[in-house]
Symmetry: C3
Subunit: 338 residues, 3 copies
């Protein structure tokens, strides 16, 4: 990314940071109001860029009302094909596949696209959501390290706020959410998996876990809360301190994933599990989910700005920057060696 | 139940709602004061109606003092043989068997009788309590649906308050409490089991679990708190969202029950477990129990009225009433088909 | 202990109670400032009494400034060889072996020595700490009963405050802490084990658990919090109510210990586990640990005085004193019989 485009993006990010949440809601409502759902044909494939285009009209409406909103809509248009989203209109189940090579890492743009798509699927009335990956052997490597290395502070803040936003939307989602973990799922990839209601992992030489500690950084409180809710306090202590990456068999043993099946059976297993969950009355199911997850969601919702401040202050420390730099250098070395 | 008797009962319930708790305490104290414990012979069988009669004298005293109290005592007298209570005076262990056909469902009257008996056994100095069922294949089906369908609001509020009362008394009981689960134990039946200190379940085609979601309703926060305390957060999430009914083997695997034995061994297993628990110094044991359960109890104690309001507001929603109506119709259809 | 020496000790304890914490910190800082670490040679053995001597200079400095501080330093000098501490300077791993016959019970002096040593090892920059026992078949029997029987209240309060202090230091320790449980580990012995990051227990006829209930006393809230964090709520309920002592195999099954190995393999297992943990970036590891343990630590830190008051009020009750007396008599009887 050129310096020019980067700073432009930061300017947009700054403008956005104050209205992003409300803006999302407007987009959703307007879109529903227009009734022009792009998810109308059975198993139709719609990529993120197509969606961005499909958002054009309502966003244009918005942009005529507010300059700030225009900036947001422009940015949506600038997205690459980061996601492959399809909806089975007969069942109301969406499949969202991450396709951001090489490792589906969460950049600000990718997180924004994920947030927009979650809102859109929800407002389109989808009842279920399968989150998977189009890339072989990788689910998601988690946060994009370059977002955190020598960062522009405004963008860094927006990056973290959008990550919070994504977690809030996914962890409390009204949809039935199932993770189809067909590849490695460290750090943020593990977080996304844990946010789902059910996790199916492919067997083989894959790993999953919150391994932030190995990079010298610390997963925020809401990452560890999510982990505690999934595997319990004791296992979370061990996992976080060691930055442990679990094999599929280890993961299922401690409850980090719910099922481990051969790679070729993941899709069918996810489908049959989803079919079972779809039989449950939706509203009561979602209220039950919130009853258990809302206290954890509230803990972040009540300290969101503080959490951003903490993250920025921690990650910009010289020592942390140094270890991120070394890690990036090692990554480059490794890819050169290949 | 005729319209007349129903509205009379509601009037009594209204009068009761303001003094029920204090009244329970008075009854207990007076009874102890008179020293006429009906649990004086070894393994003497005393049914709830006998107890009601045995409560006559102290209640009459009370009723001469207060008109409202009289209404309460009258109602106690009107109870059917809902419970079969016996006490082994040598060990101080009471056995309370629910015998309210067809499914030991918790009506307002049944819950009131349970509360009175818990208080009585406690004030009589019982050290242990086994909760079981006299009905074959059923422990308890939980809340009486008709209490929640097209309800009189005053009675509905009293119903919920009495359910809270029962949970508070049982979950924090000074007695060693063991559930002898010899039959199905869905919803409120599962709650009662979880309130005990130990759960023995008969093997076979039985189920146990909080399945409220399947009816389109949501178990209140204190139900889910009790479940989390029993099986942990992750299993509680799955159980509540799916309204999962566990087989005995599944239940013991996740810790929802402690032991699964053949039906004919349940009584002996309960007895030997009770014998083991009776060896522990009572006061320290109860304080240890409260140390772990009091925070959960407090959460309801601090929000009791709010919890009633929430329940009433939720259950009287048109959509919820509709699904309760459909469920009741399906139950009738099923019993006609037999 | 003679009456005279006991009351003198109490006077010291009183003086100390108001400044002990600050004093510890001063000692640490001064010691570091002097740079005279006694843990400088590889695998050098330093006993607690040597350490006490090694603390002479800085304490003398302090004692010249404050009379109260002098009393503290005098007392340090009076310690027996309660601990066997060695440090492997190449790895930065300390080994602290309790050697207070007959059962490594926690008296005020022993707890004070443990606190001082934890501070010292931490300020000397140790990265890992193995806690074990020099006594065969016993890890630690926990609190010294005589501290609680017919106590001098001032000393009792200091005793409890020092126990709190020890728990706070160990549970949140910056060091990697591993318990080498080569002998029985009831009550406070179990607490110390649970405070560590990892627990290796010898197989055989040993037991571990919080068995306070069996003595008619109740483990304080922070004991049970630590237990809940280790084995979960349900198992903690059963364990505390029953005062359950687990065999090594039972303990590993519920997660109370992490590994059970033959006695002769404990040291090697601890060493290889420590080597694995030492690879993790220290700062991030410790922050991860605090993220999970700080809420539990805070609960005591915010109610420390109240917790002391509760303990003193409970333990000095006539009924509790009576059962402690009977327990002590039984212990004497047993040792006479041998």
């Amino acid at each position: 990314m050129s310096m020019a485009s980067k700073s432009m993006l930061n300017a947009q990010a700054l403008a956005r940071s104050r209205l992003s949440y409300r803006c999302y809601n407007h987009l959703s409502k307007i879109h529903v109001g227009l009734g022009s759902t792009p998810y109308s044909t059975k198993n139709s494939k719609v990529t993120a860029s197509h969606q961005a285009h499909s958002l054009l009209s309502p966003c244009k409406l918005l942009s005529q009302q507010k300059a700030t909103a225009r900036k947001f809509s422009q940015r949506s248009l600038g997205q690459d094909n980061l996601l492959d989203v399809s909806v089975d209109s007969s069942s109301g189940v969406a499949t969202l596949k991450m396709q951001k090579p090489p490792v589906n890492s969460f950049s600000l743009e990718f997180l924004t696209s994920l947030c927009i798509n979650l809102d859109k699927l929800h407002s389109d009335g989808c009842r279920g959501l399968v989150i998977g990956s189009s890339l072989p052997k990788i689910f998601s490597a988690g946060l994009e390290i370059t977002e955190m290395y020598q960062p522009d502070e405004a963008r860094l803040r927006e990056f973290w706020r959008t990550l919070q936003e994504f977690w809030i939307k996914l962890y409390g989602s009204q949809m039935i959410t199932i993770a189809a973990i067909t590849g490695h799922s460290p750090a943020g990839g593990c977080l996304v998996s844990m946010c789902c209601d059910h996790r199916v992992m492919a067997d083989g030489k894959l790993t999953i876990g919150l391994n932030e500690t190995l990079l010298g950084i610390v997963a925020p409180r809401w990452f560890s809360d999510t982990l505690i809710n999934t595997v319990g306090h004791r296992e979370a202590e061990r996992a976080l301190q060691l930055g442990k990456l679990y094999s599929p068999q280890e993961a299922v043993a401690v409850g980090l994933v719910d099922q481990v099946v051969p790679l070729e059976s993941v899709a069918a297993t996810v489908e049959s599990t989803m079919a079972q969950w779809l039989k449950i009355p939706s509203h009561a199911r979602h209220l039950s989910k919130l009853q258990l997850r809302q206290p954890t969601l509230d803990r972040l919702l009540h300290t969101r700005q503080e959490d951003i401040d903490n993250f920025v202050s921690f990650i910009t420390k010289e020592s942390i920057q140094k270890s991120l730099g070394m890690y990036l250098a090692a990554l480059k070395q490794r890819s050169k060696a290949k």
